[in-house]
Amino acid sequence: MAALPPHRAQFRHTAPMSAKSSVDITATAVAPDAVTGASTVTPADTSQTTVIVRIHRFDGHASWQQDYRITVPAHTSLLDCLLLIKRTQDPSLAFRYSCGHGMCGSDAVSIDGIPRLLCLTKISDVQKDAEAQANGISVITLAPLPAFSPVRDLIVNLNPMLDQIRRLEPYLRASDALRTTPSGAINVFEYLQHPDELEAFDQLTNCIACGVCEGACPIYVDGTPFVGPAAAVAAGRFIFDSRDDPQSRAQRLAALDHTANDPIDTASSSNGAAPAGIWPCKGLRFCTQRCPRGIDVSGAIWKIMQAIKENRGRVAPHSAVK
């Protein structure tokens, strides 16, 4: 997948900055030529700031907005803000979280209308954008992730996304010929995979199933029948893996193509519209723009579409690979 950017850092860190090492130790053991130019990172803002966190709350019956006022360093993540509120103001506030550093995918919510992870969003990232002011204090508005049903406060039901991922049989189906030796023992060697073959799908394996891409996609949010960007990435991860069996690959592509008799498009299957596979994607690229893992979701979907076209006619849809 050479068209994809090499790394997500490119999405997130762009402002050129000067080096900030507070101790000059370049004379010690480091070769001068090893230090490659200036820092490319925005330094953390350690100043204290007061904000109002306005949260869409829901207890299963009633919904309301609730304001919480906090004073913290500007580099504080919104997850840490919510944990502070939970600990010192309102233990009943409900939101999912776990690792706290962007690996578990638990804490996708809408922050000032944009789907993001709480733990990877600092107050200083959003404060300047926060238009709403209350008595001169910035208001940061948190709401449940769009496209999914709220269950309580910021917790939504992500099962539609997980179901879509699961229906596309998201596991490697490597060729059996390589899996066992003639005597039936498990092959004692790994499948060889050259670094460029790994590069073709490696970025897609970074998906943490957080749902941000789905909440950012106007088509998915709208309820249009659509397999959705998350399931496309989950399937693409195998489609472009050189170890997956060619026949399996063809069937994965067919499943994403058009699924007339297969309820894979669950985004809004309740509205009676015909399933449409991957094709409702219009290349709007909000998924790519918002992905906290820097995955070029839109680019991957485009590549899958090309592969589907090349694949058509080569396989009967939905003859299961066993």
Binding site: A19, V23, T36, V41, D90, P91, S92, A94, E190, H194
Partner: protein
Amino acid sequence: MTPTKQDLHYDAVIIGAGAAGLSCALGIMREWENIQTSPSPKGSAANPPRVLVISKLQPLRSHTGSAEGGIAASLSTIEHDTWQWHYRDTVKGGDWLVDQDAAKILAQEAPETVIRLEHDGVAFSRTPDGHIAQRKFGGHTADGERPVKRVAYAADRIGHQILHTLWQQCQRYAIDFADEWYVTDLVLSTNDVGSAGAANRRAAGVIVLDEATGKLHSVEAPAIVVATGGAGRLFHTTSNSWDLTGDGMGLALSSGLQLEDSEFIQFHPTGLAHTGILLSEAARGEGGTLRNAAGEAFMQRYAPGVGDLAARDVVARAINHEVAEGRGVNDPLSPDSPADCVWLDLRSIGRERLDTALPEVCDTIREFAGLDPATDLVPVKPTAHYTMGGIPVDTTGSVYTVNFTTGAKTVVAGLKAAGECSCISVHGANRLGANSLLDAVVFGTRSGSDIARTLGHSAATGTDMATDTAASRAALCTAYNARQESVTQLLHQALPTTPPAALPSAASTDPMPDNPYQLMRDVGIMMEAHLGVTCTAESITEAINQLREVFLPRAEKLRTHDATAAFNQELCAILEARNLVRVSLALATATASREESRGSLYRADFPERDDAHFLAHSFVNAHGEISYRPVVIEDYPPERRSY
């Protein structure tokens, strides 16, 4: 996918959906397939085993996904290596508190385990000729002499790869998953017909709280696997997720079982300053260097030769020593805090290699410190990382208890544990990097295989695994009723939330009633102060006093602030806080009793290792009673441990 019935029966219930739990589930299904296809199937149960994996989280959220550096195996894809070297390194790394029969299995089965993960889909980084790439890691050596490239990796997100791959493979099989279910009770049944008058206990089932509805369920199962991970949240500064509250260990203590070697907590040397977030050891494996305030690469003084790649406890203590000697640096994000960090210098690695080999490390540094690892020094300090101890198990994963009078071991029938919550013990007093995923997958799989064989045997002989179903059901019923009463009490005596408008000024005059989040934070700060990288009898006594006199009563008094049952996170948090306090007390008790320094445990009042008295595993129960059993030594007698 999530079961909806209130009373459920499964052949096996696995608590936890990380590397150990999912490996166990796959182990059950695959071994069952092997039994079916073998020429003379011993047990030909017509239907596949009914397996339920319970997690308090959604799918794919388990903390396995945060493991960064790699998984160790003597694959020799880059340079010559042997499982015997891996075995010996593991024993030495654990300061000879390792059961050598178990460590031998770990090292021997490592290569096939990593190959199986690759076949299952893990996107390992590759050598130019397409083999699994391997890197150096602390304590992993060629014949004890020089660092060896033993650790298979996937950039620096091997845990994410393994977690997702195992979950994906589980989708092949008819395995039920109960997401966001919290196990409140591990229920054992007892009959008194055992030999020597000892009560024979066996697994009966679990009581769970369905977080989405707030309803309790009772799940009966003749085989239960505890695979709940560690307890990093015992300490305030930790690399662990918010969920690592020692639930499995707490469940074991509550059901009258014991914890082994619970005094051994690994502090990873390179947490990102005060965030505690892990910066993988791979950063040093790739050439990163620790430096003090003077810019000196100080590890060469503490561990000549291996330097920055000494075992983790050695590096963590070296950092603390530098700080104590006044050579620490400030965390730039907390300029008012003491200078309790040192620098991690990654600049010599170069931007290109940093981005390909350590993308997560670099992102974490950029995101959470606002620094550029290619040009800036990064502040680091030790962070609570791993519990070497846990629920005592044998090499098939079966949980046992020790009779404190006779020293005899008794297996709890049908109960297994795997992964970080268990103690086999392959890590002894200090775990080597890249051995934790290996432990979870190797012994998770072995536990699963053993369950499948037992199920097959039961089917073949027509015996039910649960020898006394009536006793199991009675025990479950009692536990269910007691828990229902407790949950009702927690919810229906809900405390008022202080009106937000009145805060924060009102907080000082009219403090909000206590809550589990504040309690867990206070426990962590206290534990870090008294039972951190270094402790003494005095600090341990203080910790025990505070746990008994302050934190246990506080934990008992907790009530929710809201009576809504559905997704009442505070309800779970109260139960987590109680587990945390319970495990803290066990840890403190075991620490007090071990009057020596070994591996991760450093007692300033007993700074030397004492093999004459303490070449032994501790066993502690919820009542603070403690006993010891000797270490299993087969090949490598204790030596002085130096790097």
